[in-house]
Symmetry: C2
Subunit: 205 residues, 2 copies
């Protein structure tokens, strides 16, 4: 068992980082296929050739492993085009960001399944997912407020901004789901139509 | 065991219908809480006080039971305001229809979870859910085409109609999910904003 050897003579820092990345990659696959509730730490450990204790050592708990997976998803999403854009440009970049998920089907499947599963307050990931939505809605609201303050769009009340960022989030979640169900779905064209329509409604230029 | 009695002396037709409705109600609760993959026929049978064979007798299979549950959901949705509306009025009624889901949280949770789970082609409900999306998109497209032909909105190409009905579906799915995650979400206001904006973009009157 490679596990025993690793536990006895823990490698240098870089080895630990690589092992952690490998475990996150396997967890993505397993959660992506079975969901968070259905994907067990035992399956992940078996596929990685490590034991349960190693997973706990790296991530603390199943929720900790999910957090690491979703952080990796966020990192890739930001790398896919949301660095150095703000205000209206942030919204204009969203069709590309969504289209890039086509290269990460497993991750999109994972996130879509977990968000839906965790809509039940009894789900162990409920607090985590609700916090994540709150945080993402706040990010979108910040960019919209910035566009208002820059004079790029008309004034929007806090209640209007809330509606706008929820609709953007709904369009992205919903189009992601439709693309998962039918890979012929033109996610880029749909999100572009939505972005242009929203910016026009805001009197954007 | 009430089960044995029922099997020996099957009641009149009305009793069978009531029993079927009762089983569907319990299946809704169990699938709503555990998802389709996680909700077992055994749990449903136990909660209903019947045995596995009775479930199979009524529904044929787990997929058959899910079909019955989703048909019941469709029936309630239509009763909630989509009878006798067509063309643009169909779209104008959607905020109310979505808002009515607030009274059926379990069903919305069930549908949202199953649609996400079944996005994986390996899921036993995948074919069923993709067929259901195809059918619902066609219904929306029919109403939009009707509005075009009535001269209520500008001409839309088939490709544009496809984008429009996918965006409507995304907004409804996505806003449903956000309301499940945060019951403070004003689903009626958000969907109303979307409907009015879309109709304005179509040059609707």
């Amino acid at each position: 068992m490679p596990e025993a050897a690793e536990t006895r003579t823990r490698g240098p820092y870089r080895t630990g980082v690589r092992r952690r990345e490998q475990l996150i990659g396997i967890a993505m696959d397993v959660f992506g296929e079975h969901g968070f509730a259905g994907g067990s730490l035992r399956t992940i450990a078996e596929q990685a050739g490590v034991n349960h204790a190693t997973l706990i050592q790296h991530f603390g708990s199943k929720e900790g492993l999910l957090t690491a997976v979703l952080e990796e998803w966020d990192r890739r999403t930001v790398e896919n085009g949301l660095i150095d854009v703000s205000g209206l440009d942030y919204f204009r970049r969203l069709p590309e960001v969504m289209a890039a998920h086509r290269d990460n089907r497993g991750l999109l499947e994972l996130f879509t399944t977990i968000a839906a599963e965790a809509s039940s307050p009894a789900h162990p990931g409920h607090a985590f997912i609700t916090q994540r939505y709150t945080s993402n809605l706040a990010t979108l609201a910040g960019h919209l407020q910035e566009a208002v303050e820059a004079g790029d769009i008309v004034h929007l009340s806090p209640a209007q901004i809330e509606i706008e960022v929820r609709l953007f989030t709904a369009v992205m979640d919903g189009m992601g789901l439709q693309w998962l169900l039918d890979p012929e779905t033109d996610i880029h064209a749909s999100v572009t139509t939505y972005v242009e329509r929203a910016i026009a409604a805001w009197g954007g230029r």
